[in-house]
């Protein structure tokens, strides 16, 4: 049953999300004004003064800043981020075209890293301080230490160039999905392994686990039925945040593996100063983050009845 308290908690969180998105829109909008002249920034350096002036007029950069900002926010609310300067198409269309590729990559990366991280984290926690635990800890430490781009290049060197097992770029076949999702998921795999291990070790030290043991319940049953359930709460919280920040890693992964997703769109747009597209991507990424966190907050309340609102 949803109580009034729960409901007001949910509304509060939703409002908070709206405030955050408002702030994000402010930052994204005013970032273009850091040099003082967005028109000169967006035009190629060889553009003449008259061309820049005409562009300034066309983009409405001569209007008061507040008017421009309101127009910007109004556009976003209607799903309009302006036209891409490069492609002369709505920025949002470009983003939506690329979205499935990134979503697929992110999903596969998150799936293998969560599953494997979960299994290895559990094994490490049950066999704490054993050789297996030590090995798993070393692997997860390395996984967090290696930058995505370096791991990606190593994977290409080993599996594409030397062994010739897997293709190093492109999209379409399952083989082409393997290396990018390995590279992208490595960090999350390590993080989730460490988190599951730490969380489970803490829960296994609780009194009710000792009671269960005293009752003669098998070790396996204790872990599956009693411990994991509580150990997973922090993991789920972090999971939501990871999913949202996956886009940062996807940026690099997509560049290296020539994966036609949002991350590559963002970097290409930044390098060609196609700012409407960049703005669209940043706002979209922030929206995903806010929505994920909102969902996690709600899931948290329902998963953990001990939380007092």
């Amino acid at each position: 049953m949803i109580s009034v308290k729960t409901l007001s908690f949910i509304t509060g969180r939703a409002l908070q999300g709206v405030v955050v998105m408002f702030g994000v829109s402010l930052i994204v909008f005013f970032a273009l004004f850091l040099t003082g002249d967005p028109a000169a920034l967006m035009m190629p350096p060889e553009a003449s003064r008259a061309e820049i002036e005409a562009f300034r007029q066309a983009m409405g950069f001569n209007d008061p800043v507040l008017v421009q900002y309101l127009r910007f926010v109004g556009g976003i609310l209607h799903g309009e981020f302006g036209n891409s300067l490069r492609f002369q198409r709505p920025a949002l269309d470009l983003l939506l075209d690329r979205l499935p590729a990134t979503a697929l990559l992110a999903f596969v990366a998150l799936a293998w890293s969560s599953l494997l991280g979960f299994v290895l984290g559990t094994i490490a926690a049950i066999r704490q301080n054993s050789g297996i635990d030590f090995a798993i800890r070393v692997i997860s430490l390395l996984g967090q230490a290696i930058p995505v781009f370096w791991l990606a290049l190593l994977l290409i060197i080993v599996f594409s160039l030397n062994l010739r097992w897997l293709p190093s770029s492109g999209i379409g076949t399952v083989q082409q999905l393997v290396l990018p999702s390995l590279a992208l998921g490595a960090y999350y795999f390590s993080a989730i392994t460490r988190l599951v291990r730490a969380s489970l070790i803490e829960v296994l030290g609780e009194n009710y686990i000792r009671t269960a043991r005293a009752k003669g319940i098998s070790n396996w049953r204790i872990v599956v039925h009693h411990a994991l359930r509580n150990a997973l709460i922090p993991v789920i919280t972090v999971q939501g945040m990871y999913f949202a920040s996956l886009l940062g890693g996807a940026l690099i992964t997509e560049i290296i593996f020539a994966w036609p997703g949002i991350g590559r769109l963002a970097v290409d747009s930044i390098q060609t100063k196609d700012f409407p597209v960049v703005q669209a991507v940043v706002i979209f990424a922030a929206l995903v983050f806010v929505v994920m966190n909102f969902l996690v907050d709600i899931a948290y309340v329902f998963l953990n009845p001990r939380i007092r609102l």
Binding site: N129, W150, L153
Partner: protein
């Protein structure tokens, strides 16, 4: 039963210090003592593998596409990357600590505004925001320091605020207020010393993120511009030649790995030590 990995609880700290000392040695000793110019090479000696000798001159890590010595470039690049990251960390810590203390100490609308700003900061993917700003203001070393620093304050503000909320209620703070100490004096003399410890640990754990972030920006070609080397743009440049000369990518990557593992182990050890002391 004791096994070798449980024998010494400080073994990881020793390893961490060894790794960090090795990297520190690399970025201090090489630029000072190694005689080869990191930005000038011999075009007749390109892509020489590690340990090759050219004109009686040893290249321990080989040479790159322009015949430049990789050891010299790696030394300078590590020094520059570390410099950027450490300065940025200082900006983040100072900014975050001050804002967090203000939010926690005064509460009210100030608290609300600052903590919402933290939420906003955390909602934007760092790397996108940094790339956006660097694309607008231009990729100089100074800009990079400021951008990395200004975009990283949020977690420090959170911790500083939480700690301030605890300390604010302590009796000696109440006492100092009773004898008429000003808010500024209380914050800096009585609250701040309690925050320094946690923030130090947090910096150690946050440095890996900054190191990888800086390297990523460099890798994408939006960081410090060539021919100046950084860890990221060394890998970015070497990427085109991985078939021909994988050492160009290998050694800068290992350096980043050593730095990050070192910081993580040291941070974890500091956390455990603090826990033991509190227990």
């Amino acid at each position: 039963m004791t096994r070798f990995w449980t024998v010494r609880r400080n073994a990881d700290a020793v390893l961490a210090v060894a790794l960090l000392a090795a990297v520190a040695g690399l970025c201090i000793l090489v630029p000072l003592l190694w005689p080869l110019d990191p930005t000038r090479g011999l075009l007749t000696a390109t892509f020489r593998p590690p340990m090759s000798v050219v004109d009686g001159q040893l290249h321990p890590l080989g040479t790159d596409q322009l015949g430049r010595d990789l050891l010299a470039r790696l030394g300078l690049g590590t020094a520059i990357s570390l410099g950027i990251v450490l300065l940025a960390a200082v900006i983040s810590v100072v900014l975050g600590t001050v804002l967090g203390m203000l939010a926690g100490y005064f509460g009210g609308w100030l608290d609300i505004v600052i903590m919402r700003a933290v939420d906003i900061q955390l909602a934007i993917p760092f790397i996108l925001l940094i790339l956006l700003i660097v694309a607008v203001v231009g990729p100089s070393m100074g800009n990079l320091v400021v951008v990395l620093g200004v975009t990283g304050w949020a977690i420090f503000a959170r911790v500083a605020r939480a700690r301030t909320l605890e300390v604010r209620e302590l009796e000696y703070v109440e006492a100092s207020r009773a004898i008429g100490l000003s808010n500024t004096a209380i914050i800096f003399r009585h609250v701040l010393p309690n925050i320094v410890g946690p923030q130090t640990v947090l910096v150690t754990l946050d440095l890996p993120r900054l190191i990888i972030l800086e390297a990523s920006v460099g890798f994408l070609g939006l960081g410090v511009q060539p021919p100046t080397p950084t860890l990221g743009n060394l890998i970015g440049e070497g990427r085109s030649f991985i078939l021909l000369a994988n050492w160009l990518v290998l050694y800068p990557g290992l350096t980043i790995g050593a730095l990050v593992v070192g910081c993580n182990l040291l941070g974890d050890w500091l956390v455990r030590r603090a826990d033991r002391r509190n227990a």
